[in-house]
């Protein structure tokens, strides 16, 4: 599709009217890109065959800026939902895709987002099977919002559940934390700073599948610490299982540039968002094997065992600092605010 031949440069209210303009937008910029047997039916919904237990997850994406180093709102909308389905111990297969566009969005930008969605979906092995496009008046949105819902088949060996977690289980993270949040922060208006920090936005489903193939029920839980970061997710787990989480700061993988940017802005990387990070809570009998598998996988090269489940300090996450002191890791309250000095 060559968007130079389009007779409109921006998306306007008419493109969401359901009429001729909507049809034109969908045909030229969406159906042509995502073409597949389910979508090509152009029916009100998609009819698919899914066997066994099904995992479903939905997420809305409202990020500013919509383009950032390492991705854009489109790729993020795919990775985010694909990963959420994967965290259930499932193999993601299908996605729904809904846009809410603020009138005035440049068609070139929109097309770039659509192409990113296609690329991310292909790479993740999922099909876009149904969708929706709405346009709202200028000032009633923020360029573009995307909602995706993912459907996947639960892995036959998966028994992912908080209930399976025991004292002594190990907590393993697949890679560097805080990359996504700091990449976004570096491009936010008023805070711009020059860096090479890229969002870690990526799909995790293949690594998750390999882990389940290999270790099955030895894997107790997967979680991806997106908003709220690693600290908030660990706190949620501790309170949900009514046990303690003990981690060591020295084992938490963080890239030097990201650590420096966090220092500079006065932010704690434990609460900064990730989009390509997950933790696995695993039986201690397989901790080294899980770590080895992760480190051999493209998405787990920097994996690290960061801590374990303990019956000391129930409902609390305790971190041993670099200098050997201990502190509580509490959940994030509201948005993380940059400090004064």
């Amino acid at each position: 599709m060559d968007i130079d031949n389009l007779d409109f440069q921006t998306i306007n209210l008419g493109h969401g009217s359901g009429g001729e303009l909507t049809r034109k937008l969908l045909d030229k910029l969406i159906f042509s890109v995502f073409s597949n047997p389910y979508l090509n039916e152009k029916h009100d919904g998609a009819i698919v065959k899914i066997e066994g237990r099904v995992a479903i997850s939905t997420d809305s994406f409202v990020i500013t800026p919509i383009f950032f180093k390492g991705g854009n709102i489109g790729s993020l909308a795919v990775h985010g939902t694909v990963n959420d389905v994967a965290m259930c111990g499932a193999i993601p297969k299908y996605l729904s895709l809904a846009f809410i566009i603020e009138e005035g969005l440049d068609v070139v930008d929109f097309y770039q987002i659509v192409k990113s969605i296609k690329k991310a979906a292909d790479e993740s092995g999922v099909l876009i099977i149904t969708g929706d496009t709405k346009v709202v008046e200028r000032g009633k949105g923020d360029k573009i919002f995307i909602n995706t819902t993912g459907f996947g088949e639960v892995h036959p060996k998966a028994t992912i559940s908080m209930d399976n977690i025991n004292v002594g289980d190990k907590i393993i993270v697949n890679g560097f934390i805080a990359q996504h949040g700091m990449a976004i922060m570096s491009e936010r208006k008023g805070l711009e700073f020059e860096s090479n920090i890229e969002s870690d936005s990526t799909n995790l489903n293949f690594l998750v599948k390999d882990l389940l193939d290999e270790f099955g029920d030895k894997i107790k839980l997967f979680r991806d610490p997106t908003r709220g970061g690693l600290g908030t997710v660990l706190h949620e787990i501790a309170t949900d299982i009514e046990l303690g989480v003990f981690i060591k700061e020295v084992h938490i993988p963080i890239e030097k540039q990201v650590a420096a940017a966090c220092e500079m802005l006065g932010l704690d990387p434990m609460y900064v968002a990730n989009e390509g990070v997950f933790i696995a809570i695993v039986d201690p009998s397989v901790e080294n094997e899980v770590l080895a598998l992760m480190r051999n996988h493209e998405k787990g090269k920097n994996a690290s065992i960061i801590g374990e489940i303990t019956d000391e300090h129930p409902n609390k996450v305790v971190l041993k600092s670099l200098i050997g002191g201990k502190r509580i890791v509490s959940p994030l309250v509201g948005e993380q605010l940059p400090r004064i000095c």
Binding site: E194, K320, S321, G325, R327, I328, S330, V333, I340, C341
Partner: protein, 367 residues
């Protein structure tokens, strides 16, 4: 800023072995009970975040000082900033000011109701916003100690140079030495030594602390913020106390020079003069802050807008004043962790990450 940023002097000052060595020394030399106040909220944050407090001898009691800019900014001023927001002014602020409760609401809540609030890292950015919005008034909420004063003063000079008339600052600058004096003059004061705030001294130098050392016969150690800095500073203080000495020492010499930063001091003196200031929870301290000089009055938001009559009482349940003066610890407050939490703070020390109450709440509640 350079690409591929990497922070120097970080890992060196978070080194387990080095820190442990000094901690062992502190344990060795501590014979008596000593109360040491770290002035700066950044130091409080680091002490608690790195778990240093539990590694110190029981006889060393760290008392958390008033050096949290958010915490000492008077309630009146927050209400004034909110009033400006509601009058349609673009209000620019450092991040951690925005959740501090005013008498009725916070800046963040005023934003949700339609106020144009911008969170910035630099006041110079606020001048650019004024330039881009010539039909709007733009006010920067200029809070902080000596550390933030140069940049805030510079923004005024910047606006003057560029002939930007729709910019002003709502200034609440406070100074460290008068606050230390007020704390020492308090009858309830039990402080034996101070860790002075490294970054404040980086701007102002250390000269103004000699008279305090002499008058109150108290050790003052200019100290940095990393774990190793803090344990070194504490060691130096304990050593002096055990030896019966009192002098000014500079632990943070890699950053702090005797005479401070000359260019920064000049900028401050250009725009500000010393005047009385109200401190939240402490009250008015004479000659304890900066006020905008007559020549730059048109950049003073309190002068420019009709907001000077806004006066509100503090929340009577909040004992921020006693916390800030080091008389009580956060967990000695009956509201701490109950009615007063970071998500619903009664007072400012529970909001800022540098506030003693928030630091206690987040990092050290009964491990």
């Amino acid at each position: 800023m350079q690409k591929n940023i990497e922070m120097k002097y970080l890992s060196e000052y978070r080194n387990l072995e080095e820190t442990k060595k000094i901690l062992d020394e502190i344990h060795k030399i501590t014979m008596r009970v000593w109360n040491i106040m770290e002035i700066c909220g950044g130091q409080t944050h680091s002490l608690v975040k790195n778990g240093i407090l539990e590694l110190l001898p029981e006889k060393i009691r760290m008392i958390h000082g008033p050096g949290c800019p958010v915490c000492v900014t008077p309630l009146n001023l927050i209400d004034k900033a909110i009033e400006l927001l509601e009058q349609g002014v673009i209000v620019c602020s450092f991040g951690d000011m925005i959740r501090v409760p005013g008498s009725k609401k916070s800046l963040l809540e005023a934003k949700a109701l339609g106020g144009d609030l911008r969170i910035l890292y630099s006041p110079i950015e606020a001048v650019s916003i004024a330039k881009q919005n010539p039909n709007k008034e733009v006010v920067f909420f200029a809070v902080g100690f000596e550390t933030t004063a140069p940049a805030n003063a510079l923004s005024v000079l910047h606006a003057e140079k560029e002939g930007i008339s729709n910019y002003s600052i709502l200034a609440s600058h406070v100074l460290v030495p008068p606050a230390m004096e007020a704390i020492l003059d308090d009858k309830l004061c039990t402080i034996d030594a101070f860790l002075a705030a490294g970054h404040v001294c980086a701007i102002m130098g250390v000269q103004e602390y000699y008279p305090l050392v002499a008058k109150y016969k108290i050790p003052i150690i200019v100290t940095g913020f990393e774990p190793l800095d803090l344990v070194q500073g504490i060691y130096m203080a304990v050593k002096q106390l055990e030896d019966g000495k009192y002098k000014l020492e500079n632990q943070y010499a890699r950053v702090v020079k005797e005479n401070g930063n000359k260019a920064a001091i000049e900028v401050i003196q250009n725009v500000f003069e010393i005047g009385n200031r109200e401190w939240r929870g402490i009250g008015e301290i004479p000659n304890s802050g900066y006020v905008i000089k007559e020549a730059y009055r048109k950049y003073d938001a309190e002068h420019k807008f009709n907001i000077s009559n806004i006066k509100v009482p503090e929340n009577s349940k909040c004992m921020a004043g006693e916390i800030l003066r080091g008389i009580k610890r956060p967990n000695e407050c009956s509201e701490f962790g109950k009615t007063c939490k970071p998500a619903n703070p009664l007072g400012a020390p529970m909001v800022s990450s540098e506030g003693a109450c928030a630091a206690y709440y987040h990092f050290s509640t009964n491990i």
